[in-house]
């Protein structure tokens, strides 16, 4: 960090902002992914008006921007739920306090007097992996973020696929197995109902009901079971918890096979809390992906875990949007 600080005014910086339903992270990042300033978390829900949110960000960042020299601030990148790169707006995000369509990129540009690019969190994560992470040098990959929900981004020939209206990459909502309605969309058998943290907890509950044998998870109240508990039990060798990851991995592997045959990537990169299960998840993913691929694709696709540090990944991803000249 000493070296960064010495040269802090001799290089360009990007503001990275990651807006989540719970908290907003932000910081200043250079093109090597070094963070010279990380702001204190903002509680997103406290800002009823997006204008007040923008002002709070501005106020928090002003000293740091003065420190690098305002002429060295190249731009702002934002990852946000339902963020649309084409319009620069957050559009009807169900888990944010701001309803309707919020032209956040324009508001930030007016406040900070630099360009601002905004997209959804999964696309920002993919930009971060390309710029600073395990996807450096890759032109074709798919990113899956396995958290409370399942997000995704598709990179083809070095470009994120945004789609006609900026809505591409909703792979969590593609159908993979009939028989489980999504808790919010009511769609039947989508990937998110199985491969998210929520889906894994649900699978564990179903397995516990059906299976009379011993399990560490029997000591929890069934309705309180979390994916994290399933993961911890599985890592301790709990058979039932392990079988939950076997089942989840199979369905995720089948889904990934479909995605591979769509865009022929070099790799599929997994990110998020669910991946903490490690090989317990990755082994069945790889097995069932291979089983469902056309022979010509077999043994060519890497399943990788993100290498960006958890704490900084969101800020890095958002800031990477600024350095990506392929994004208008």
């Amino acid at each position: 960090m000493d070296e960064i600080k010495t040269n802090i005014t001799h290089q360009q910086w990007a503001i990275g902002v990651d807006i989540g339903g719970t908290s907003t992270k932000f910081g200043l990042v250079n093109h090597r992914g070094e963070i010279c300033y990380a702001g204190k978390l903002l509680v997103t829900g406290r800002f009823e008006e997006p204008g007040i949110f923008v002002s709070a960000l501005h106020e928090a960042l002003l000293p740091a921007v003065a420190n690098i020299g305002p002429e060295n601030l190249k731009g702002i990148g934002i990852g946000a739920p339902n963020g649309n790169i084409h319009t620069g707006c957050i559009e009807h995000a169900p888990n944010l306090p701001w309803k309707g369509v919020v032209p956040l990129a324009d508001m930030m540009t007016r406040k900070f007097q630099v360009p601002c690019k905004l997209t959804n969190d999964a696309n920002a994560a993919a930009a971060g992996e390309m710029m600073y992470g395990i996807a450096r040098g890759m032109k074709d990959f798919i990113m899956l973020t396995l958290g409370t929900g399942v997000g995704s981004a598709i990179v083809s020939n070095g470009h994120i696929i945004y789609g006609h209206r900026g809505l591409a990459g909703e792979l969590g909502h593609t159908g993979i197995r009939r028989g489980r309605l999504h808790w919010s969309t009511r769609l039947d058998g989508t990937l998110e109902t199985y491969a998210s943290a929520t889906g894994i907890a649900h699978t564990a509950r179903l397995f516990l009901e059906a299976e009379p044998t011993f399990s560490l998870l029997k000591s929890c109240r069934q309705e309180d079971i979390t994916a994290q508990q399933v993961c911890e039990s599985a890592l301790k060798g709990d058979k039932l918890a392990m079988s939950v990851f076997q089942y989840t991995g199979q369905i995720l592997g089948e889904a990934i096979a479909n995605f591979v045959m769509f865009s022929d990537p070099q790799a599929v990169i997994l990110f998020g809390g669910v991946t903490k299960a490690g090989q317990l998840l990755l082994n069945p993913v790889a097995e069932h992906m291979e089983k469902n691929l056309l022979p010509v694709f077999r043994n060519t696709i890497k399943i990788l875990l993100s290498e960006l540090p958890d704490a900084d990944a969101a800020i890095l991803g958002a800031s990477a949007l600024v350095w990506d000249s392929t994004i208008k």
Copy 2:
């Protein structure tokens, strides 16, 4: 045609070659999609060596090229099974007489002394739709060719998605419903096993076995039933045949919903013999696509039929590769 001929030596022309398992079509096309010369069909299987095939094409085209003036020949575009744009090779095409990897683009360039681009037939069809057909002006669409098999091409931001190794767009082999093994790949429940002509004939046979009511199809020997017969019977109002298209349309609609959430296109364009069923197929496709889409995608995706004339579509598609400057 008179007008084309008058100006034939005052404009540029592309050779379009469509190589099929049965026959090869070829012709000379200008950038407006006008064909000044269509060659006599070659029986692909007669050419045991690709070199002899290239010589036969050259011989057949020589007088027509002399006619336009060799300086007006801009290039050659080829659509072929397993054609790879990155390598210019036909790679292990199971239904062609040439085994292994055939560097056909290089061979054509050496023989004709002009650049040659080669891709698979579905990508060529998509290029044709963009250049001359219903996708003119569209930057984001998915093309599905429903014939003996199910081919596909994905266009995003004006570019065909080729993928890391040129294998993108194998949507016919993505899984959609468990329970029917593919006749060749042995993959379970892929789109092609349901939505191809072969799949439709198979569905009809299953329905006939299970359903004791009258059907026009009962006069055929079950093992000889073709998708065309199912289509003709359905168009005459035969209930069982109509229910085959209802079922096929449902599965195709579910699959298309998945594809839409991948790349967020403006439209999905259907091409091929199976589409002759018209609304009998399109109505359930639209209904079940909408039912399986996230609300944000609903009522935004057009399902269109190709408008290129059946007889010329393949040559037009292949020739369009020559005019597409985005393809290296």
